[in-house]
Every structure is written in C-alpha cells, then in structure tokens.
C-alpha cells in the first residue's frame, strides 16, 4: 500500500499500529531497492513472503495485468487457465523480443525486469563460484546441448568456411548431438589414460588443427564436468592452443558451477588463453527443474551476438525458477550448498573406498575429477557375463537413482558415428565400473542409503549367482514392498 492507503487505514485502526505496519512494509521495499540498484544476489536469502511480494509487484507491471488494459494484438498475455496463471505468478509474456532474447518488452516491464535481474544475479553467482572475470551471461530456456548448438550457429556467421569442431571425447549423447544438430562435423579426439584417469590428448588436438587447417575449424569444444574416470579437460592448454591458432573455444561446463575446480579451470583458461563462451545447466547447478542453461563469456559483444541469434521470445520459466531459488538461498545459502557438496564428496569417496575393498574392488584413483567417482567392478564382471548390467537394474529397482554401471565393450552409434566402449569415454577401458557422484544438494542420507543398498546387491552376487529373486514384486502396496520405508 502507498502512503495514502496507509493514511486511509488509520480511519479503521489505531494510527500508531498502522504506522508500525507501514514500517514493516518498508523493510521489504528496501530489500527490493538493494536488489534493483546492485543487481546482485543478496547475501542472506529472502523469505518466501518477500519473494512473492516482489513477483507480485513485477506482475502488475505487465500489461496483461493492467486493470484497464485492452488488447487487440495476437499475443496479449491472455491465460485460459487460472492454475496456469497462478503457477507463473501471472508473468505471462516470457522474455526477450523477436530480435533478441535479452531485449526489453514494451508490453511487459515486469517480465523485462525479471529477465534483466535474473541475468544480473546469475552473473554475480558465477563470479562468486570462481570465474571472477566473466563479463556477461544470459539464461536461455533450453538444455545445455541446445545452448551449445546456438553457440555453434553463432560462430558459423563468423567463420563461414569452417566445417569441423574439435572435440575431446566425452560419452554423453547430447554433447555430440549439439554439434551434429548445428550442422558441423565433430572431430573426436580420443582421451589418454594416465593412471586410472582419462585425460585430454592435447598434442592430438593441436595436430588435428594443423591437419585440418585452423580456418576450417569452427571451434574447440571442451568439457569440464564429466563422469569419472574421465576428468575435466586440460582447459589451460586448450585455451592457449585456441589463442595461438585463433580458433574459438566453447566450454561445456554442464554441472561445473558447483565445483570450484571446474570454475578455476575456466578462469585460468581465460587468463592464459582463449575461451569464448562457457555453457552450464541451470538444473544441475542450481537445483531447479530441467530446462534452462546459462551462456556466459568474457566478451560482452560475443555474448550479445549469441543472444541475438535466438529467434523469438522465450519462456521465462527457467529464469523465474533460478531467480526465486537464488533469492531464497542468498549468496550465503549457495556458498553453504557448495561447501556441503565438497564435504559430501569426501564422505562418499571414503565410504565407497571401504565398501570396494570388502568386495575386492577398488575406488579408481581420479583426483582430477571433483564430482564423480568410479568403483571398479572387475571381480563382479568375472562372475558372470551379465552381472554388471544386472547390478545396474538391481540398483534401479531398489530406488537408487543416478548410479551408473559401465560394462566393457558396448558399441553405440550416434548419428552414424560409432563409439567403441561407449559410456567409458574411451575405446577400451581396463575394467567395468560403477559411477556415483556427489552433486549439489546431496545429503548424507543419500550416501548412506546408497552404500547400504549397494552392499546388499553386491552380497547377492557373492552368495553364488543371484537366483532371480532379487527384484521385489509389486503386490498392491503391502507393507513389504515399500522399498524406502521398510529397509531404512
């Protein structure tokens, strides 16, 4: 309420109390002020009440919420379902204009503010997370893979002759597809085995560039966060090569914001060499629903070029999610999550090492991977042909999600390109293994449950072959079937 309405309230309620109430309102306004003026994530998280008030204030700045508006266009922010209107806090106009996903919409001052503030707050967090010299970024309502595609499409206009993308192998389909979809030919650089780790073959990259001719190479497409035993690419060396050969460098930093190591690699790469853009997933780094990514970089104009390549308006939903999340966490809350993730990584690796030893397996030694771990399944693999995949399905049935078993020798063809040893990032990794990761938001309880269930599954194999009874039956919700409730 404005000053006049507080005045009118004094007709009904004691002026001193109304005044106290008005002062209560001020504190919320001041929070907004600081946000609007500084464009940074607040140090301490906001309560839901302030966030809702803020979103409400944004919404009533959009023309679809004007009480006296009349719309005679083809896109007026009309909403047929109240449920839909409410879940979007009545922010209906999306973000961007037909020319530029970062542009401001005349019809929607509130949604435009939302867009600007989100990008600004996210930029602040990227700095906090370790890439201090980042200069610009924007949230795009597309998956990481499609966002990579958009970067490649932008580069096409700058390097019309280029046909190839140099890509140190990472066995994740959408990375590969992002290049295919953009219409380029991925040039796969196999990784080299160093101890248990799979690392970037920097020399092969340089050789290939010379081989193809720098002007025919659209960019180097490197990766930070990945499943062990692969480790983040040698970004410093790659960045220097890119700089030397004047080749753009796009980094897939999918879930790397949560790791200071990944962020440090990007910061270093940009310092000593060339990184044009780095792309990260919203959901994997900020615990929001799937569907958004951040495109960030060190050159204001290049990031703007990318944002101008997106034809048409876009969904504000991922921006809204990440803004709500960061305002509610605050910088301190996000730092705390990063800290807990690191601790949980230590805990997970310690416990997994112990369990591995019990079963004559071992935790692979992958010190350069800050997020993902791998435990060998060498003995299990010897046990029977199917044991490794069977273990995977046993874990799935027992509501362990995200654990990934990697058998030897799988072949996979993606868009006519055949990968040997698919999932393991190399043609012939020495052993089968199991992946587990300590990602942001993981709880000690997750680790404990995982280890307990993994232990049970591994025991089954020990007692000679699993006799087929390992999969719990679904029998109409009797007490015995509730995986989580009974066991723990």
């Amino acid at each position: 309420m404005n000053v006049e309405n507080f005045g009118a309230s004094e007709r009904l309620v004691n002026a001193a109390y109304v005044r106290q109430g008005a002062q209560g309102r001020c504190a919320h306004e001041l929070r907004l002020r600081v946000l609007l003026e500084q464009g940074k994530c607040p140090e301490d998280g906001w309560d839901e009440s302030t966030i809702e008030l803020f979103l409400h204030e944004l919404a009533i700045m959009d023309s679809n919420n004007f009480l006296g508006n009349c719309g005679v266009g083809e896109r007026e922010g009309r909403v047929a379902s109240g449920m839909v209107a409410r879940r979007h806090y009545r922010l209906i106009h999306g973000i961007g204009r037909s020319g530029d996903i970062s542009a401001v919409q005349p019809k929607a001052a509130g949604s435009s503010l939302l867009n600007k503030l989100t990008n600004s707050v996210v930029l602040d967090i990227i700095k906090l997370a370790g890439v201090r010299t980042v200069t610009n970024c924007f949230v795009v309502p597309m998956a990481t893979g499609m966002s990579l595609t958009l970067c490649f499409l932008t580069l096409r206009h700058k390097r019309p002759k280029a046909k190839y993308i140099i890509w140190p192998r990472i066995d994740q389909k959408s990375c590969f597809k992002s290049m295919i979809t953009a219409g380029f030919e991925p040039v796969v650089i196999e990784n080299v085995l160093e101890g248990d780790e799979l690392r970037t073959d920097v020399k092969a990259v340089e050789a290939k560039i010379q081989d193809l001719g720098a002007e025919n190479v659209l960019c180097v497409h490197s990766t930070t966060s990945c499943f062990a035993p692969r480790v983040p690419d040698r970004l410093e060396e790659l960045s220097v090569i890119c700089s030397n050969y004047d080749i753009p460098h796009i980094v897939n930093n999918a879930y790397g914001i949560q790791s200071s190591k990944c962020m440090h690699l990007i910061q270093q790469g940009a310092r000593v060499g060339r990184i044009d853009a780095f792309i990260q997933s919203l959901d994997k780094n900020f615990m929001v629903p799937v569907g958004g990514a951040i495109i960030a970089g060190f050159s204001d104009s290049f990031i703007q070029d990318i944002s101008k390549m997106y034809p048409g308006r876009a969904s504000a939903s991922p921006s809204l999610d990440v803004l709500i999340t960061l305002l509610s966490l605050g910088e301190s809350g996000y730092r705390q999550l990063l800290k807990e993730r690191k601790e949980m990584f230590s805990y997970l690796s310690g416990q997994l090492r112990k369990l591995a030893e019990v079963y004559n397996e071992r935790l692979l030694n992958t010190p350069h991977n800050p997020i993902s771990l791998a435990m060998s399944l060498e003995n299990l693999d010897k046990h029977s042909d199917m044991a490794v995949t069977q273990l995977g399905s046993m874990l799935f049935t027992r509501q362990v999600s995200g654990a990934r078993v990697v058998p030897l020798g799988s072949l996979q063809t993606v868009n006519n390109y055949t990968f040997k040893g698919f999932m393991s990032h190399t043609n012939n990794y020495p052993c089968a293994y199991l992946n587990a990761a300590s990602a942001i938001g993981m709880k000690k309880q997750d680790v404990d449950l995982f280890l307990k269930r993994l232990d049970k599954c591994m025991k089954t194999f020990r007692k000679e072959k699993s006799n087929g009874k390992d999969v719990p039956e679904m029998d109409n919700c009797t007490k015995h079937t509730s995986v989580g409730e009974t066991e723990d």
Copy 2:
C-alpha cells in the same frame, strides 16, 4: 487412497459414508482412465480438483518424489526452493532424454507420461481444428522461430547441398532470423498487391526455384497467420510446386490453429501437394505463457527426426501449461473459444469500419485474412509527418496493447538484409495504416475499449494539432491517472 486404506477408514467413519467417498474417488480415476486409454482431449473440461489430483499422481511416479529414493547422480531432480517445487507440481525432471525430446525417462515415469499425453492431446486438438490428416506432433519448449530453426537444421542433414530457403516476404523479424540462425540464405519473394491484399507471388517462387536449382533449395518457408493487409500464403499452389520440384515445405502457422481458414489451407496443401512440417506457437493459440511451440506434420518419421535433433532434455513447463489448459477447457471449451473468436472478428471489423468512416479512413478490404484487420491512416498521415507514430504512442499510453501503426517508408536492416517499407510486407504499400486483430480470448470489452480510446485519439488530431497534453501524467496514484478505472 487404495482399497485397503478405505477399509482402514471405516474404523473411524461409518462404512456407508466411506463407501460413498470411495465411489467419489472412482469418478476421478475413470476420467484419468479415459485419458490414458484414448490419449484425447476430454470432451468436457475437467475441474481443477481432478487436474491437480492427476498432476499429483504423475509427480509421485517420478524418482525425486519417491520416499525411499537415494540419488547419487548429477541430475536427481533435487529442488532447493519449495516455491519452485510447488509451482511445477514437483515435476522436476523435464521431458525427453539426451537423444530425443520425445523419449521416455527411466527416472521419471510421471514426467514421461505427461510428455506423451500432452503430445497426444495436442495432436487431437490439431485434428479438431481442421488438419484432420496430421499424423504426429510434439511440443517443444522453444519459440516458434527457434522451432523453425530446428526444422531447417533437420533438413540440412537430408539436403547437404542446399543453401537457400525460399521465403514469401513476411515482415516479422523472428521468421527471418529463424533462417539466418540455421545458417541458410533467405531468398525473399516479394508479395503482389491484389486489391488491398498482399498475396503470394507463386510464379516468382517457381521461377526462383528454377533459377537456383531445386537441389540447392533447402525448402520453401511459407506463412499462414500474419498482419493484414498481407494474407496467408497460397499454400495449395506452393505445396504443389514443392511436390513437383521435390522440395521440402515448412509452414509457419504461428497463430493459425485458432483459425479454421489457416488450418484448412494446411489440410488442403497436404492433400494436393507437399507439406513437411507446420509450426505453431503455444501461447498464441492456447492462451498459455510465452515459450512453447508445436511441431507437427504428416510423416511420422520426419517429425521423429526433428524431435531427435534437440540435444538434451528440455523444460516440461510449456507442456504442463498446455496440458492443464486443454484438460480444463475440454474440446467443447476450446471449440467455444474458436467460435467466440470468429464472432469477435465480425464485431471488430464492423465497428472498425464504422469508426474509419467517421474519420474519412477506410477498413482495408482483406477478406483472406481471418484474424488481422487494417484501417487506413491516409488522412492522418497527411495531417503531419509524425501523426501516425504519435497515434501509436498515444494508444500505448492509454493501455491499448497490440494495436500497431504502420507508417510509410520505414527501412530496417536485419542481419545485413535491408527491408524497405518494413512492417508492411512490401516495399511501397499505398498508405499508412493501423492493425488490430481478433485473436483467441479477446473479449467484447476489449473491442469496445479499443474503439473508444482510438476514437478519442483520432479526435485529438482533428482539433488541429495535438497540443502536447495528450499523455496523462503519473502523479503518484491520484484518482485521475487510473486509465482503465475512470474512463470506462
């Protein structure tokens, strides 16, 4: 509750009443059953309670909502903010897999069902709206423009030699950009003036194809819904040409689902010739927030090819919005909206014609455009240089949104291509004009308010020059400033 829980309830509450309650539950289950079995939009809309129950049921099928789940992956559907979780009904995993946006996710049976059902229900509605022979479609969380880009990128793999896209001119930036972003060269075909209407120059299209060589043409990119005095492209003729020259044909049907005429054109085009895909906006046709599109077509495999081009998972938010909306409207509700739109179009055109006559202007005669209308501003334009643009800003200030004034002779350069007479779809349209549209969800009140305000603005010009006082001042919410409240 299941049968056993109803049984347990009888301990507390009279069995006859519990039984009545259980029967009440059945009716909701039956609605779900019909939806799951038929995959069609229900004839009558569902109440919010059933929809919420349904979404709740979907959500608890996703692993992030399993009570006993433990997650050890990097993407586990964790959510930091309760506000965010709630607004997505706890459906966090998005849609699709890294390989295919239409694929099913093992971790998220509920989200997968949501995705499948949405596409199925939307397909049903496309048929209802007039394209009866459509065979496949999917919702993609990207704007219409970016969705067109995805189609062009898919075609690239089928026609590696092709560089050009034949495009009958439509002055909407994102249409043009969709081709640029995909890396192709748009070949602009100027429209021909027939009466007041701007129509497809079919001969020029064919001539250009012959000129460039069919194998060098990626596709013809035509448009249905557009601002008058342009009218929908001659789809039948274009489709026949595409068929004859074996060239793909992509139709931008942005807000055409709401018009039986646009849908009929597509149906006819597909019957007599070739249409590979037609793309439409979710927000403009279904009154949901900006951010999604539907890619539909007549060949199952081609639509699947496109869905497989999207690298990575994607936001479920637009799918969720359109599903909620269609379930709450039902087929009957959607048909009713279509009917009302048509009626409102008649009403708007009648009223606008009258008003035009008062000011010695006229409603342009554009019978082939079923949605958008144009009123000449010939006399106004003569009045003063700036009058036309001034009218636009006066309408904006008076909370008329979506009305578009088109002055003569504006130049606009988009991605190095210069358009003469930009916004008017032709280099030299005979007069300046004003657009208004009757789009889905428009109310009689919108029309009446628009005409009242337009009338006031036009009057201002009559009284000799507007003396600069036409813009209401913002003076801290006194009663006089509330545009909508006081005036009407």
Copy 3:
C-alpha cells in the same frame, strides 16, 4: 514497489515502460483506497490478483511478518508449517483481543484491518439484501447455533431473573440446543396448520408470555429460513408483542440473507416492533466453508455488548473467507447470485410439481417459504412401511445430497425434551413428504439431475416392490459405478 523502487528499475528497463508499469500498480492501489475509505463491498468484483496483493499488503503489516521483529511473548504468530502459513496468507494473529472480538490488536495492524473491513463490508451487504436500517454487525467464527448461545448469554446479564425462552417450534437440533447450552429452558410453541403451511401461533406466544410473566422470559427466539411446509415466523406480529411486553427478540435468520422475503420480514419487524439481534450463517449465505456466523442488529451498543462477551481472540479464517468472497463477487456478483437463486426456485418448483403429478403426489402449497419446497409422499407411504426412508437412502446412494425425506411419526428426544413428528415441525403432519431447496449457488444442472434421479427412484417403487437391487455395488471403479459420469 514505491516510487524509489520504480526509479531504481529505470536503470534496467526503459523509463517509459517502467512508468507504464507504475501506472498499472496505481489502479490496484486505487481499488484499495476506495475500499479503505468507504468500507463497502465494491460494485464490481476484484480479480484474484488484486485480492492477493491486498492480502499480502495486510500480512506484512503484522508483526510476525516484520523482517526485523523479535518476539519474546507466548503468542507471536509463529508458524511451524509453511503450508499452514500460506493457506492463511500469513495472517496468523486471528481477530480481536481478550476483551472484545471486534477490538484492534497492537501486534497485528493488518489482521485488525481485515477484521474491521470484513465487518464493514458484510454490513453493507446486509443492507443491500434488504435490512436497510441495520446499524452494526460482526463476523464470529462459530456456527449459527453457538452464536445464538452467545446472544442468550449476553441477555442473561441484562435480565438476571429470566429463565425461559419462547420458541416457535422449528425441528432443527442446533436451534434447540443453542438455548439448552446457554442454560435456559425452551418453551416450545407449536405451529398451526394453515392450508399446507405451518405458521407461527402468535396468540399462543402472547398467552405464554402472560402465563410465565414477561420478566421471566429471556427473549423470544424466532426463525425465518426453514424447511417447508413450515414457513418463516410471523416476525411483524412477534416483534410487536416483544415491544409491547419489553422482551428481547432474537431472530435465527440462518440462511435468510439469500432471500429478500426473509430480509424484508426482519426489516419490517424492526420497523414496527422489536428485534435485538438477527443471526445468520456465513456458509449458507455466502458460499464459504462451514464455521462462521454474522451477528447483526439495530442497536450499536447491544451488538458491541455481544462482541465483548466472546472471551479471547478468535479465528480469522471465516472472516478471511467471506471477505475474499465478497471482494471477488462484488455487489453486482452477489446480486446476480440472488437473482439466479430466485429463478432457480421457480424452475425447481415448476419441475417438481410436474414430477409429483406423474406419481399422484403433489407439491405442497407453501407460498410463504421462499427457499424450501415439499412434495408429498402420500402414495409412496401407502406402498410399504419402509418406502419413504428407502427412498431417502436411494437418493443418497445416487449422489443426491440435501434432499430430505420426512416420514410420519418419528419421535426424537433432544436433551430430555421429546419431539413428536420430529423433522416435520409439528406433532402430526398430514402426510410424509420430501424436501428440496433452491439455495444460493444452485445450478440448473443440479435441478435437472435431481429430478432425473428422483424420477428413476420413484419408478422403482412403481414396478412393484424394489427388489433390493437398487443400490449400486462398489466394484473397484469399473465404468458402471460412476454415478455421475455414466448416467448423465
């Protein structure tokens, strides 16, 4: 946002657009202003967005929502569950103070405003509904019966000698109990049969007063809304008697606000005689959840006396519900509901009369009852002993709610008082019958479904005895059991 925050926004978004947004906000503020200044229900209903903003504004005026508050008392508006906080819009402090349910709370300016405004808006609606000279009222979070008790307890202090309450019989338990609970002895005045109607025996009332001695009578407790064939009491005559004998008069107007006839009776009674307070249910008149009542009257001080009798703070929930409802309906919306109710009454009585004739029954002639109707079940009763009650249970099973069958001769003892012919308001009504009412919010569809199902049930009896198969079985949600879906 306040002016300074709009200013700060211009750093991020074009000033003209921000200004437009600020103006959008003004319209909402103006609505609040009018409400605060006039304390009346707005003519046109508010949209949800304005209502939510308003409640949000109220909430942040309460100390539990102050960002810098520290609480060291025993009642600080703390909330353990976010779900609970949200569903109350964070208005936690309830209404009133220990001394007075209408008093203002220092800790909770917002909740206090809510309380004052609700009472003010409700007063306005009572006037609109026909009692134009009402002077004061308040919402109390108790049922109608308990509210009557509170009135009687207040009167005790004014008439310490009085032991009796004169009560024209109405067969509804809570009316009777309201007097018992207050510690008084109800003196039941039997109704007289006039045609089909049961009407107040005014002479018996006066005789009883003379008999007991006016000073021993606490009050006359009369009733307006009731089930046919009873009709509203003769309020004018009763009010005159009360005036003549200087006896308070409390009117149970449970669901009478919805009927202009009931309201007219109260207005007339107060004009020509004496009415001290009239009590009405919130849920039955305003379509809100069960649990609140309005105590209203013509003497400011007496109504205040009652409000001061409630010891302690009280739930704001019923006040919140009715305020939201009235703001969303507006006066025009409420008037429309009243109008539709009347029309539906005509429709229901017409259709029920026709159906009655088919089965040789008749619609009882009860022109003074504006809400409830009764159809004789004379022939059905002859059919078999149990037929009448059987019909009741058949209707229940078929999801007809609110239809009430009244067999002859039931005895019921309530707090040691035995009622003959209970439910029929008289010892020996001439025939069994069925009640149906046209209450606010009833739809034509309700009437049609009711008549269809009643018809089916009546038919069953015709085909000789119901052979016991009339109750549908619950067989695990197969399609046949869904009463509403399949039948209609």
Copy 4:
C-alpha cells in the same frame, strides 16, 4: 491412480518404469495406512507432497467434490471463490453435526475423517507431552476462553444449583470473562507471595468452598501457564480438595503443553485428585494461527458431554492447521521443538540476568514458572513516573513484540469487578517489572535481538531523561528507518 490406470499407462511408457512409479505411490499409501490404523502422530514428519496428497484424497470423499453430485439442500458445500476453495483444500463441510461437534457427517466422509484423525493425533501428542492417562480430547474452533465457557456451561447441567466458580487470581481478561460469559460469579482467590513468586493460596480456596457450600460451587478453575512472577497453580492440592468436596475441576492450561512441568502438574493432579477437563490453546502450543483450542480430560463421557454442547457444525480450519502441522513435524519434530524451547529458556534467563545486573535490576527468582521470566524495573521506576510505560512503548516501536512492562498500581475494571495492581496478579507487588517468555518456536536470534534492543532502551534512560528523540520517524522508507535491517 489405481491398478487399472497404471496398467493403462503402460500403453504410453515402458512398463518397468510405470511399475517403479506405482511402487513410489505405494509408499505414500502406506503412510496413510499407518495413520488410519493407529491414529497416532507419525514418528517422522511427512513431506508436503504426502500431506497434500492426503488432503486431496480426503477432499474427494466429500460430496461437494463428487463429479456427479447434485445438491438440493441449503448447505451443499458450494464455494463461490476459487481462492477460498483452494485454501481449504476443498474441504468445505466443516466438522461435526448439529448435535455434536465430534460427530460424523454423511455428506462429508473426508471431513469427518479429518476431524476424527485430528482429535486422535492430538490425543497422542498430549500423552507424549506428559499427560499419559488422558482418555479423550477434541479440537474446537474457539479461543481458550470461549472453550472454558463451554465447559462451565456443560457443568451447569450437572450442578443446576451452583452459582460460583473458585478462581485463584490470574490477570488475564479472557480467563475472567470466560466465567462471566457463562453466567457465573467468579470468586477470586488472591495469590500469596513466596519469595518473588506468587502462588496459590490453597487454604483460602478450601475455606471459601466451606464458606459458600460445595453444592453452590460450580467448579474450581485453576491455571498452569502464566506470566511470572505468578507461577502455575498448586494443582495437586487443588485436585485433592476438589476430590474431597466432590467439586469439578477445570484447568486452564493455555500454553502449557509446551512445558513438561505444566503437563506433569496435570498428570499428578489427576492421579491424586480430580481434574475434569484441561483446556489448551492450539496456536500457543502448536504454532498455528489463532483460533482453536483442545478440550481434554480423563473421563470419556464428560468430554463427550462437552462436545455435544456445541450447537451446530463448526469450522474445520483449526483442525486442519494442527493436523497439517503435526504430520509435517512428526513426533520427533515436536519433541525437538520442546527441547529447543527448554534450552532457549535457560539461555534467555541467563542473558536476562546478566543484563539486569548491568542496570542494577535483577531477574526475579521464579523457579516454578517454566516459561515466563520477569526482570525488576525498580530503579527505572524511581527514575521517573512514566519511565516504565515509556520503556514498553520504546520496545514496541523497535519491533520487540511480546515483552510486557508491568508498572505498579494499575487499576482495571472488568465486567464490574475491579482489580488492583492489574497485570501483576496481586494487589501490591513489590516492584515494577518486565516480562519475557521462552515460548515454543523462539529462536536464539529472537533472544539476542531482544537483549540488544532492551539494552539500548535502558541506556537511553541512563543518559538522563530520554529527550523525546527515541522514537524512529517513518520517513517514506529511507534506509535509516528499517529497524531490523540496519541495526543488526
């Protein structure tokens, strides 16, 4: 979804995933089952998703949510506003029937279950909190004071001759009013000073009973939780007296559930003597909004008698709040809150003692009061006449809520009864003082802020007279006015 719908889902999504989803549902069903079967608060709290699903399941068992229902009564659970329907989870029918607030409603099996379960879960928690032999209780949507009134009204029927209620003085208006409203004459027993504490004068109670004659005494009305320096009444002795003289005993245990000491007193009283009912506030013990109370006792039939005294249905809102809260906390969560409260009490008393010493005041020695503390304001009082009340208003302005200053010698007349030394529970307490309490939900931050602000205020007085500048001005939300934000 039921088994058949899961089956139908397999048409769209891989059967194994659907099966996994169905199993996920089972875990939720099992939780409900345990609740329904045992009627106890679950050990571990439920997540919001399960609670919402549960409420949704209850709602669809009520006739107003039947898809095929037709209502022809006057109370059909119709809701005009969607906002209202949603905030009550569509549970509209309230609780109880006209005859009994604990009774089951035929139209509303879900609401009836809610009512039964709430009472059952609350009973469980009362046992957990220390009154292990309690046998029955019910939640009533009225304040503690009005609930006491209901108890007294029930006793009237059992003791028709009785006029007096024996009441050890407690200076809280609604306690006193609860007796007045019920129509009885409170007989005030002054407390005795023992050290700093004010304690029950047991002998005076007994003497007064003999004086008035036991049969003329309705009951003894004692109190546990209260502001220091008063302490809980000597319940054991009072209970023995009540037993000896065959007089009912009603205990006002307003916020005593949170204190094991208060609960122990009740348990002991019931063991050695007579306690008929004990009443407690919902909001003060369970952190829910104001407006409900629990009436509990050791005789099933007496508690039922009380529940049958409430005439009419009642609001389900307080029941819903407390059920949601207890399900979300679980027994463990509630125990944790009790534990933290105790710790915070120690912390507050330690810190307050230190601060008192700084200002030559002292923490009054009130070891029998487990919740409230008092710090003397002896020196401040000498400082100036108004200093004590001025301190109160300074704390209020600084957003300290719940701190209560008690000056000497205030007179207060409540319903014609004059209390000397009102607020201090005695005619002449030796000194003025300040109260602060450690109530459930208090945080360390509250204590620290309180002490900091109190310290500042006390300092002001030291620097000679407060020169009138102590009240912060409200100047349109500049940064200096935000109490909480800037200071801390």
